[in-house]
Subunit: 350 residues, 2 copies
């Protein structure tokens, strides 16, 4: 991401211009004017051929990359561009959270339709940068390309964690308990509202909150990093594809089975209100719905107190025990009366 000296200066890029007419230099300058570009670990940021960072002493580097593609992951007529920018970073921070890492740096690759306005560009970048600033993450590189079609936001995020404290997917044992952060089903309810043609929840704040969660998920890296530091969790994964999918993966990684207890699942109150009004199944939204970006942990019973204490220290997000790992391979949803059904497979993103 290099300002081109031959492009129009930022002063010549009014906000009603298109990004194509503004030029890459002006766009990069608009980012640089707002971004947290430096940090104690940043030796070279935006403006050279590549970024240079000093690794944290005694830590390992955790890196992830994920993209949001217009018409596939978002629609511009549903989701404000500021929310798209926020979410593009949040989904990457959630992957770092699932490893126990504290985010430090990010790279932003924008592929922009030529007719996108500079106002839209500012909104998109602003949503990204607001979350980056709140997360104390430095934007230190990226690139801007023209798109002949969809708007695409491709993000790479880098964090660090002590090697012994990395949380893997593998690590659960039979008898371990399954915990999740937060409440589940909100993002799926928010998406269902858009699909049903409703933008907001008729003034019910719990329902409106579902739209907010779908658009602006929180990444749980703060609580995850505190938990990781204590060593109280045996394994972790994020809930990008839903609880059923996450529970199944934690079990499969360890060659185990998992039982999710239906009555224990922390169904989001807004998802419950929405499901009731729409004739849907709130538990299904919570178990099978994706994009809540909460976390799931496998915890040994003797680590339970340490785990819960770390979660309390880690912030305001509650953790809830929702199930247990068993020796027999498989994945089940167990009702309060003891009946079991096979756990849904979760939806498959392409």
């Amino acid at each position: 991401m290099t300002p081109h000296t031959t492009s129009p200066s930022p002063a010549l890029a009014p906000s009603n211009a298109t990004v194509d007419s503004a030029g890459e230099h002006a766009l990069v300058e608009r980012i640089a004017a707002r971004a947290r570009l430096s940090g104690p670990h940043v030796l070279v940021g935006i403006g050279d051929d590549a970024a240079v960072t000093r690794p944290e002493r005694g830590a390992v580097e955790v890196t992830t990359t994920d993209s949001l593609v217009e018409h596939v992951h978002f629609r511009r007529d549903w989701t404000p561009l500021a929310a798209v920018g926020h979410k593009a970073l949040a989904v990457n921070l959630s992957d770092l959270a699932a490893m126990g890492a504290v985010p430090r740096s990010t790279f932003l690759s924008l592929i922009l339709p030529a007719d996108l306005t500079v106002t839209d560009f500012d909104a998109l970048v602003g949503g990204f940068l607001d979350l980056a600033t709140a997360s104390r993450v430095s934007l230190i590189g990226g690139n801007i390309s023209r798109s002949p079609g969809p708007l695409i936001v491709d993000v790479t995020a880098v964090g660090s964690v002590r090697q012994r404290r990395v949380l893997r997917r593998v690590g659960a044992r039979a008898g371990h308990e399954l915990y999740v952060t937060g409440t589940l089903g909100a993002a799926a309810a928010g998406l269902a509202m858009f699909e049903a043609g409703r933008r907001r929840g008729n003034g019910d704040p719990a329902v409106d909150a579902c739209v907010d969660r779908y658009e602006r998920p929180d990444a749980r890296w703060r609580v995850a990093s505190v938990i990781a530091r204590t060593g109280a969790a045996a394994a972790a994964i994020d809930l990008s594809d839903g609880l059923a999918d996450a529970a199944r993966r934690l079990a499969e990684a360890a060659g185990l089975g998992v039982i999710v207890e239906a009555g224990a699942v922390p169904v989001d109150p807004g998802a419950r209100v929405w499901a009731e009004a729409a004739g849907g199944d709130a538990l299904a939204l919570a178990v099978e719905g994706g994009e809540d970006y909460e976390l799931a942990f496998a915890v040994a019973p003797r680590q339970r107190r340490k785990f819960l204490a770390a979660a309390r220290r880690g912030g305001h997000v509650p953790v809830t025990r929702v199930g247990r790992f068993v020796a027999e391979p498989g994945a089940w949803l167990e009702r309060d009366d003891g009946r079991r059904n096979e756990l849904a497979a979760g939806f498959v993103h392409f």
Copy 2:
């Protein structure tokens, strides 16, 4: 990049299927079957929420990201997909080279039209992985998304170098000499051939080589890392946007001017043949044409011998002195008779 356990198995993905019908799991498995996934620095590779690497002791991390967008950076009817995969990695390795870094890890983000065949996917990934293997770079993460339009290959590459040996753009001083690697203008001639509707050079191997250079540029990280280790270069940049652009940037970063000596520019022989046949200007191709992905260095005269010795040790690519930095700001092309023209601005990618 996580194999989805609920998708069809790789055995069910024949090569004439589309990527959409094959599913993400099968595609990731096809990559994993061919990729160099590990290395001494890789603690967690593909298959968890994020990759984990151990930084090199005493070194800093250099990271870059760049993307190739169909219809903007390449056309599928011109360029084989194996070459697109190669180039997507090469342009990132070139950015690492310009910092003096040795590449170690890469992340591959693919945004694929649903109707792309698995055969095309294999070709694209194969081109990427062949270069990764040849460069001893581990593919340790990424993601696959559906595209509603163009094929997009977004790559992040990470390398390492000792902090004192990082090559920056800033660092030239008045009196320093400007060097470039290799020969220039080949990629621009290759592109011009496509634009003129000619796929190959009528059997002239020097002309065919221009197409190869446009499609499969080499990244000069080997020679650059040897030069960087000696401390003989004061500054460096890659020639993604051409010599004129690179020389101007090295000068501007240092608050200097630069003079490129026309008679010294190592015009590629194939570019010369093509320009002669097409009535074009070979020097303009070499000075203004982009995408050769050679490197430019600023070198103090008293470091010249050390620089040239390092370049010889670094491999088979020649280095050539093409100009000098001066105190007066500006950028000129100087003819053999001493006349000077302002240096072209170089083309501006969006």
